[in-house]
């Protein structure tokens, strides 16, 4: 299945998100999945160029407070890169592979394009089917497939497909977890008081 270049990953300025206090609320696993999706119609996605060095991309993630970036070149969606891609074994596997054309192949040679999941290998959900899906089901899917993120694609009337949003395993786990005891938080913060 090939996807057309997406149109609404805007390469203009990304606005800084307003605080979203509802994010801290706990949800039941039965909550509609869409409520816990990062919706790119409301939150502009952070993007990265495929030729960016992996260390720089990692810093971009810290700056943006995200664990994944859409890889975009000249407005065209190429794939997804996650923190796990940058921090796990992928860079080392790339260095050891014939794919790395430099010699000797060094960490400084590894770019986002070398460790990202290209579009053709991405598992994506169809936005049109999301209304039947609960957040708990998405979390179960991510855990089963051992994915940290899954994209949601949507089709326009003319058949063109675009990236609508992303689910993050971490965010789902946190949102669906049992509420933390306030007392626990207090103990942690005031431990420093001795």
């Amino acid at each position: 299945m090939s996807l057309n270049p997406i149109r609404h990953v805007d390469t203009g300025q990304v606005r800084v998100r307003a605080p979203q206090p509802q994010d801290t609320a706990r949800h039941s696993a039965e909550v509609p999945a869409r409520e816990l999706m990062t919706d790119f119609e409301r939150t502009q996605p952070l993007t990265v160029a495929p030729d960016r060095h992996i260390d720089a991309a990692l810093q971009d993630m810290v700056v943006g407070g995200v664990r994944s970036l859409l890889v975009v070149e000249a407005g065209e969606f190429l794939g997804l890169v996650t923190a796990a891609d940058l921090q796990g074994e992928k860079p080392i596997l790339f260095l050891q592979s014939p794919m790395c054309s430099s010699y000797p192949c060094k960490h400084a040679d590894v770019l986002v394009r070398d460790v990202m999941t290209p579009m053709r290998e991405l598992i994506a959900l169809d936005d049109a089917t999301l209304h039947r899906t609960t957040a708990g089901e998405i979390l179960a899917l991510l855990q089963l497939e051992r994915l940290s993120h899954v994209l949601v694609m949507q089709s326009a009337g003319d058949g063109e497909r675009s990236v609508r949003g992303v689910f993050s395993c971490t965010r789902l786990e946190r949102s669906l977890a049992e509420p933390l005891q306030t007392a626990e938080a207090k103990i942690v913060a005031f431990r420093r008081a001795g």
Binding site: Q13, V14, V16, V62, V63, G65, A189
Partner: protein, 196 residues
């Protein structure tokens, strides 16, 4: 070309945040000897200073997770400790304080309990039982909310090498009371680092 777009916008701001945090680290934490272990790692360049524009609990936890994994994958001889600076997150101390439960939950979820600990600092830090304007609260204060990630092994080593570790807290209170607010404010003022 960079396509992560806020970079141009925030790099200037980053410069200001970075300078303020370095000033706090050098003038207050090291200058006042609030943490006797800070100087050695700072002069050796082993402190990673990472500034995030995260502005809510989810994005802060995402940035923290990335920094925890980074520290886990890096030798202590390259980076011993990380300061995650959060100029846009948690303007309210109580929110930040309650958020520490989420931080503890993240450490547990990542199996980093006993490997890393996270020490919070906040511009409006208050110790339990203190008044907001007690100068001793400055022990926990930084120019921005900061999550300081420490390696437990490094803490154990430092404490073993410093028999008076348990008395650091009391010594800090005495030092800050002697310094007073005027002294503290002068220390953290913008031109403080040029005085010496």
């Amino acid at each position: 070309m960079d396509t992560l777009l806020p970079l141009g916008d925030i790099s200037g701001e980053h410069g200001g945040s970075r300078a303020a945090v370095v000033r706090w680290l050098e003038q207050a934490v090291i200058g006042l000897n609030l943490c006797p272990f800070a100087k050695a790692v700072h002069v050796k360049g082993l402190v990673r200073l990472s500034i995030s524009q995260a502005n809510d609990p989810d994005s802060t936890l995402a940035a923290l997770e990335t920094e925890l994994q980074h520290l886990a994958g890096t030798s202590p001889s390259v980076t011993d400790t990380t300061l995650l600076v959060l100029p846009r997150a948690f303007p309210d101390f109580l929110d930040f304080h309650l958020f520490q439960g989420e931080v503890a939950a993240l450490l547990r979820r990542l199996d980093f309990d006993g490997i890393f600990q996270v020490a919070p600092f906040h511009p409006r830090w208050e110790f339990a039982g203190s008044a907001p304007d007690d100068v001793e609260n400055c022990v926990g204060r930084a120019p921005y909310p900061v999550l300081h990630v420490l390696r437990e092994a490094s803490v154990d080593r430092a404490v073993a090498a410093f028999p008076e570790a348990a008395r650091i807290y009391e010594a800090n209170r005495i030092r800050l009371r002697a310094l007073g607010w005027e002294g503290w404010n002068a220390l953290c003022a913008e031109d403080a680092s040029s005085k010496d």
